[in-house]
Symmetry: C2
Subunit: 305 residues, 2 copies
Amino acid sequence: MSVMVVGSVALDSVETPLGRATEILGGSAVYFATAASIYTKVNLVGIAGTDFPAEHIQFLAERGVDIRGLEVVEGETFRWVGRYDFERNITQTLDTRLNVFADFHPKLPAGYESSDIIFLANIDPDLQYEVLNQVSGAKLRVVDTMNFWIRGKGESLNRTISSVDIVIMDESEVRLFAQNQNVIAAARSILTLGPRVVVVKRGEYGSIMVSDTDYFIAPAYPVLQVKDPTGAGDSFAGGLLGYLDQTKELTPNALRQAIVHGAAVASFTVAEFSIDGLRSLGREDIAQRYQELKEFTHFDDKEST
Amino acid sequence: MSVMVVGSVALDSVETPLGRATEILGGSAVYFATAASIYTKVNLVGIAGTDFPAEHIQFLAERGVDIRGLEVVEGETFRWVGRYDFERNITQTLDTRLNVFADFHPKLPAGYESSDIIFLANIDPDLQYEVLNQVSGAKLRVVDTMNFWIRGKGESLNRTISSVDIVIMDESEVRLFAQNQNVIAAARSILTLGPRVVVVKRGEYGSIMVSDTDYFIAPAYPVLQVKDPTGAGDSFAGGLLGYLDQTKELTPNALRQAIVHGAAVASFTVAEFSIDGLRSLGREDIAQRYQELKEFTHFDDKEST
């Protein structure tokens, strides 16, 4: 079993009310791969510049991530500079330099095309579609996106979304894409395009999963101190799909469990800068939070009259 | 068993994206009493003007609500005029006329002082404290409040909160009151003032319950079409405390069930204007949504490896 991810590899500079960090390891493919590799074999597709520190590549390789798909080309790695204002709930992008990422065209090394699960992280929907055409045999194709592509490449995004099994998006993105303020109605309208499942991320409020036959309200793990929210969504997807790949089944029940695994993994991500909260994270740590979430959400069937 | 509520009795004029209604029955005490009377005996304390339609008084009386505590005095009933913007998630108050409510001092008719549960809806914290002094024997004292009192009468509010068992507040109010952006940390700091339980309302995201020994993440029932959010919080509290009064036990488990009952009741409230969604609501309708919420939130303990 294996999961393939296509996305960004970045060096982030982040400021939050709890600190600041410069040129740290980031990018959607990196967060996803770090999380999913706790569960299963990950095939990574991305691009970095020659300035990308070797230690980061080594870190991924040591987790068993197949990094043959990480193209390293002359030039600078993608940079993102951002600031979080928790009080006003704002993420401010101060600088984005695409650098080598601007000319990225995903190339799949031999063997990647037989990955069981494909995760198309938030990149140009035309590139996402290019990838889908190279992996026609995958059991599960999953896509994420963002407001930028919804506004700027709506038709391309429609084509990509119509070709996948699961859509994972933020609540505001689901509303924007479907042009419907009611998030449940919005998610349902996405189902009519083709996907079997829509997972709506709601940050600290958890997530919901909507399919034709199922509706699941998933909790977020309560984090007393969020240090850096970067990568929460991608590591959520990584935990979710990593778990799903390893369970080898795609039942509604397995999907619910996978979403809770994703929530548990994301709670470790946001407690530290970069992927530091995931570096030494093991299955037992996740299992513990999974059990806690079970207890936090439990209420009896029987009335206690 | 009985629940007493002290709060406003109002005539609301409301505009939402789904319609508009003028001079409809409203007020925190009315929403609470209508909801709680599905479960138990309610003793209402409030004030109305001589213009308050007799049919509303009759409606409450027919539900078995004790309305001896509803003082009717010369003058006009409290009026609220508001508009909801769902797109921007804004509640806009266009006009507030306190009228007879401006000189309200809660007077408890004989027998009210032996109510088992006391709900102090969102009114001046000094009045809330006056009421507490008249009901020293209550098993459970519960308070709600709002930003207006947190900002304007902080010390009085502290005194009231220190004297109750359960605090029910909106998320933004909990943050403002505790001066802490992290809602869990904020709720915990309220516990240090004396209350045993803090219930944090999060609108469409559900609620959380925090105590020294328990943490509960409660879902909201997914409502596909919200017509009028007015009274969601008060009918949530009404369902919660009505259920709790009727179960006659105050275990953590009963409290969890009660919160889910509150969520189910509130979901009926917001589907119609005024209390219309609750008029013919029965225990079976609530039980059905309770079961659905159980299914919507369920995930297995066992991993399916």
